[in-house]
Symmetry: C2
Amino acid sequence: MAHPVSPLAPKSYPELPVIAGMRFATAEAGIKYKNRTDVLLMAFDEGTTVAGVVTKSKCSSAAVDWCKANLPGGIARGLVVNSGNANAFTGARGQQSVEQTADYAAKALGCQTHEIFLASTGVIGEPLAAEKFAGVLDEAATRLGDTPWIDPAKAIMTTDTFPKLNGAIVELDGVEVKINGIAKGSGMIAPDMATMLSFVVTDMPIAAPVLQALLSQHVQTSFNAITVDSDTSTSDTLLAFATGKAAVEPITSLDDPRAEIFGLALRDVLFDLAIQVVRDGEGATKQVSIHVEGAVSDASAFRIAKSIADSPLVKTAIAGEDANWGRVVMAVGKAGEPADRDKLAIRFGDLLVAKDGERAVVYDEAATSAYMKGEDLELTVSLGLGDGRATVYTCDLTHGYITINGDYRS
Amino acid sequence: MAHPVSPLAPKSYPELPVIAGMRFATAEAGIKYKNRTDVLLMAFDEGTTVAGVVTKSKCSSAAVDWCKANLPGGIARGLVVNSGNANAFTGARGQQSVEQTADYAAKALGCQTHEIFLASTGVIGEPLAAEKFAGVLDEAATRLGDTPWIDPAKAIMTTDTFPKLNGAIVELDGVEVKINGIAKGSGMIAPDMATMLSFVVTDMPIAAPVLQALLSQHVQTSFNAITVDSDTSTSDTLLAFATGKAAVEPITSLDDPRAEIFGLALRDVLFDLAIQVVRDGEGATKQVSIHVEGAVSDASAFRIAKSIADSPLVKTAIAGEDANWGRVVMAVGKAGEPADRDKLAIRFGDLLVAKDGERAVVYDEAATSAYMKGEDLELTVSLGLGDGRATVYTCDLTHGYITINGDYRS
């Protein structure tokens, strides 16, 4: 938290609307940080459905395991999130801590423990004593409110330099349905099913399996399409809660034409939050969209785009404002996907720098260098092999990343 | 070259012996650098066999393509290497440049063009005019000598901060057979079949297919087991030349018991050179050996070790002398290989830090922190699943890497 605010931080934060059927409070449990909130408690009315995607890590955290076990139930009454300790790789004690925390929360909110969802973020490997939450959750439950949404966004931050929140309002059957979301994440960001932590709440009445299907679909082009440092967290969790209080008929099937409309609004929120995570990437000074087109398939395009976005040499060149497309060629070559060097074309923004396997005749060093000084960069690789395309969003790799991660744990 | 010499550089350089049947010269062609050699010419007597492994990159350089085409012939009379320009992603012009260079070299040495092997290293995407080599190779051919071996090691350097050379002498049938090798590489190091550039010469009479088999075998635990930054070069090339001048019976089959003895000596040279590349990793201040044991297979162990060695978060923690084993857990988890969190154990050196999926009872923060201040670190992950094991060698990730790569091209 001592690190300077990202130069890519938003100029202002949205004031998200109240969502009927849910309330929240934040608190200071003193888990690691001092003089800031580090616990978020959300309470959902009866009838709230839930869907989620979590990390594919083989070393997932105790809280992730807890969510995995309870997601099939599809119902939620509470959410407890803490920052400062990931409760990951904490063995049987971690599991007990999670059960105890859910028990405290269930008592505070008057529901069943399996209706409580949990997420923890912070240091890996330090035991997290559930006792920290005991009085804190009881007290927080007496203060539940429905605004402002920046408070929950702040309570879940770790190395984040700004809180991340976004919302959408979609009109269905003449009723304004709301979707609010928050996220955190700055390093260890190469989500594989979800980001570090993100929570989305809507008042839409929607069956859990439909919500799950929409979430799983749209996470692919939002959180799963970003990378800060290629490192996938043990704690990645994205949960969506639907209180069902909006005065419209429930969506109970993907065949309902409103599912697609609602899904696109959900996607907008997820995408905006994911981009905010990139823009708060540890040490980031530039946001970069890596577009790959003309690949043999979308999956192949994605793997090539990821190879470019994860390359330390590409990312340091961007930090140095160097249009070093030779390193882009290297990253295409190492991806292990079909590529024909002599058909490759590369653009920075609209500027063609390479074509047919060599530097473009129209290459303009001065114009390209000027483009690289911008804060939002677009890099497009055309493979000329097929119709596959994908975009991955990343940031540059700077001294800031080294500084932040050379002394994070201490 | 303006960057400070790696703190991990050797204190002195070996004086390698003369290898009968080959001579060399270095020269200044002014390709990119000023006031230093940037061309190496090696000349081999008739009867020299050759074997090689090159990058698997889909965007391999023109010189790599040339070597691939000529390796099946198994015979070599000359080698031309230049630094300062990789002649990669230079299209048809790159190919013509390579043919022209081989032609110059063949005329200078009095042999066939397909007996000339080529390698280029440096910037990607800049055309390399073969004319640069014309007079230079003719002149160099008049100065061919057989010592000192540090000269060829110096001529092939790019961002390297020290020359890399090593040799072995193995007694076969009472005769001392010699193996000399040089290598270069500092960044863009995650070889996939070979390193950036390495050349090994022996006076052993050995058939090309046998030499190839031994080279392919031993590259796996040497150059293919190192990573500096996870970026695989377009130009990775490892070539081994055997002049056959040692007064012993030729090895013509892998069944010859001497093949194994010779292979192990070859392996020692390859391994030492590979470790030197790690120790000259861009910005490196520590060398780290990542051992993985108890995996379901050797291949699985290797992928997990590589995941740890390539993790920017693990590498920055090591730079910060932080025994952050939580990040090691993260890297195990993201590798996508079988792992059981609750059976994992992790050691830094001999110090047990984690066991049975949580922090070890005997964990000693002070002792572990003291260990991390060392220059050569050993990190061992025990998975407890099977007998698979592998080791990957890497370095830390520091501000030096960012500085070097934020302004390399300019």
